[in-house]
């Protein structure tokens, strides 16, 4: 059976033979960087098209169907248009920070790619604090938004940035708590350990009700953290025109847009890793034959399948629910999600100590 880890091993071997270990690692870093950028570009194209199609079908419309076969090249055409657009910097804006902000948002999203396991033994950096690293880096992404909002010299941008800051900071708590419940069950922060612990069943099934509650809280918090509807107050079109990226145009806007979609991908990948077993195939206890058949599906397909399932779920939320008001948003977090999350983590701890999970 083919596997991505073999390909990466082969490249590593070849580079080490050609260049010596020092330059080989430099070359590998460059290759990994290029791969991440390439993945970003593809994700941007695919996710934008997917969002437009999903939204269209949910609203009984057709969606893009003109450019290319069945409209598949629509997002490519949009990118081309954004590339040739003029990148305006508004008068009175803080030029340095205004131009820096999209890159901060982008770099934060790129750093988050590091600990994600895309397939079996195919991971950029299996850092031993994996999950904590993800929480830490995702708190940087709010800085990009705050920077963009402030430096635009526009009241809508500032309001949007403040809303988004308040939202991300408060929803990080419940996202952290639900991530923590899986860490308690696994006993490790390392991403590869968390996936390995799900060999005989995914946590969402193994962890009984507490894991399910944690999953629901995680999905809600992830939707809020990525500033998507029904939590898109930061860029509420009808109230703030576009929030923090009102003043951005051309490629700088595209970077924000891309960072948003990549963040969606990343939180869904993390959710898939923690609750749905990452690249681990679907196994049922002792059904040897069934498990064997499942093993034949490549691990990367499992990973991307689960991730895209979660992305679809989040898109489904977006095109079904109306936007929350700011007080409803904070009520939901502080009066519902956080207390439930805290009680839930005690339940998870009891389950973990008693060994009630399978």
């Amino acid at each position: 059976m083919w596997s991505l880890s073999k390909i990466s091993g082969l490249i590593d071997h070849w580079l080490n033979g050609k260049l010596g270990s020092g330059w080989a690692s430099v070359a590998e870093m460059v290759i990994v960087g290029l791969c991440v950028i390439g993945l970003f570009a593809i994700l941007g194209l695919v996710l934008v098209l997917m969002e437009r199609k999903v939204s269209a079908w949910m609203q009984i419309r057709l969606g893009p169907n003109r450019v290319g076969p069945k409209g598949l090249l629509q997002s490519l055409a949009d990118t081309l248009k954004l590339l040739v657009k003029e990148g305006l910097t508004p008068d009175g804006a803080d030029k340095f920070l205004f131009n820096l902000a999209p890159f901060v948002a982008m770099i934060a999203a790129m750093l988050l790619m590091a600990p994600i396991a895309f397939a079996k033994d195919f991971q950029i950096w299996d850092v031993n604090i994996g999950v904590l690293y993800i929480t830490a880096i995702s708190s940087i992404s709010v800085i990009g938004i705050l920077m963009a909002g402030w430096s635009s010299n526009n009241k809508y941008s500032l309001l949007g940035a403040m809303r988004s800051g308040a939202q991300i900071v408060s929803y990080e708590l419940s996202a952290g708590l639900s991530i923590l419940s899986i860490v308690v069950l696994t006993g490790s922060l390392k991403v590869s350990d968390i996936i390995a612990a799900q060999q005989n069943g995914w946590w969402i099934f193994k962890g009984h009700v507490p894991a399910l509650i944690a999953f629901v809280i995680f999905i809600i918090a992830a939707t809020a953290e990525t500033n998507r509807a029904p939590f898109d107050l930061a860029e509420a079109e009808s109230e703030l025109t576009a929030g923090f990226h009102t003043e951005y145009s051309g490629m700088k806007f595209a970077l924000f847009f891309l960072a948003e979609y990549v963040n969606v991908f990343i939180v869904c990948a993390i959710g898939a890793t923690l609750f749905l077993g990452g690249w681990m195939p679907f196994h049922i206890g002792s059904w040897e034959g069934f498990n064997h058949i499942m093993d034949y599906i490549p691990s990367s397909i499992w990973f991307f399948g689960k991730t895209f399932f979660l992305i679809f779920l989040i898109m489904w939320f977006r095109w079904t629910f109306p936007r929350l008001r700011i007080d409803q948003l904070l009520n939901l977090e502080w009066k519902y999600l956080l207390p439930i999350g805290m009680v839930n983590i005690i339940l998870v701890t009891i389950v973990a100590i008693k060994g009630w999970h399978f």
């Binding site: 020092g22 850092v127 705050l146 402030w150 800051g165």
Partner: protein, 172 residues
């Protein structure tokens, strides 16, 4: 000079330059952003030392917590976009003198201190070890300070709630 040293000097330069810019920036928001880069540089040095846990905590607490708080308070104050006036010469001179004296003191300490560690005794900074130390009651355990600090934080939290909570009969 190998790759590791290059990374170290790069991170050090990032930290120092942005620290310098943070204190000399004319706009208060820029100062906050440069402070952020300083803290990220420090976190980068922790990563370079392979102390990933401390690096991640540095980012969570300082970058995600404190700097965001500072930026929020800047947003809420007026005239955040205006340029600050440059300080009078007397103050600049005294600040410079204080900086040089502090630098000299720190340099003297480092110069006189004989670093005995030979770099062979490596304590693995894994999360498991940190957790065991943090909650250990035996030798090298930090259970008591940990609890004391959490009491302090609890007191601070209750204080915040008391300040934020207004009794109904007073306000209406």
């Amino acid at each position: 000079m190998n790759g590791s040293a290059i990374i170290f000097y790069g991170l050090g330069a990032l930290t120092l330059v942005s620290a310098l810019l943070a204190v000399t920036a004319k706009k208060i928001f820029r100062a906050a952003i440069f402070l952020l880069f300083t803290l990220i540089g420090v976190a980068g040095i922790y990563f370079w030392l392979n102390y990933e846990f401390i690096a991640a905590v540095q980012i969570v607490v300082y970058v995600g917590g404190i700097v965001v708080m500072i930026i929020f308070s800047i947003f809420l104050t007026q005239q955040s976009g205006e340029k600050l006036p440059s300080p009078p010469t007397r103050r600049m001179v005294s600040a410079l003198v204080a900086t040089i004296l502090g630098f000299a003191l720190a340099g003297l300490q480092i110069w006189q201190h004989h670093f005995t560690g030979d770099g062979k005794i490596v304590i693995e900074p894994s999360v498991l070890n940190i957790g065991k130390r943090m909650l250990g009651t035996g030798d090298g355990g930090y259970a008591l300070p940990f609890e004391v600090v959490s009491m302090l934080l609890l007191a601070a939290m209750i204080g915040c709630i008391v300040i934020a909570m207004r009794s109904n009969n007073k306000t209406t």
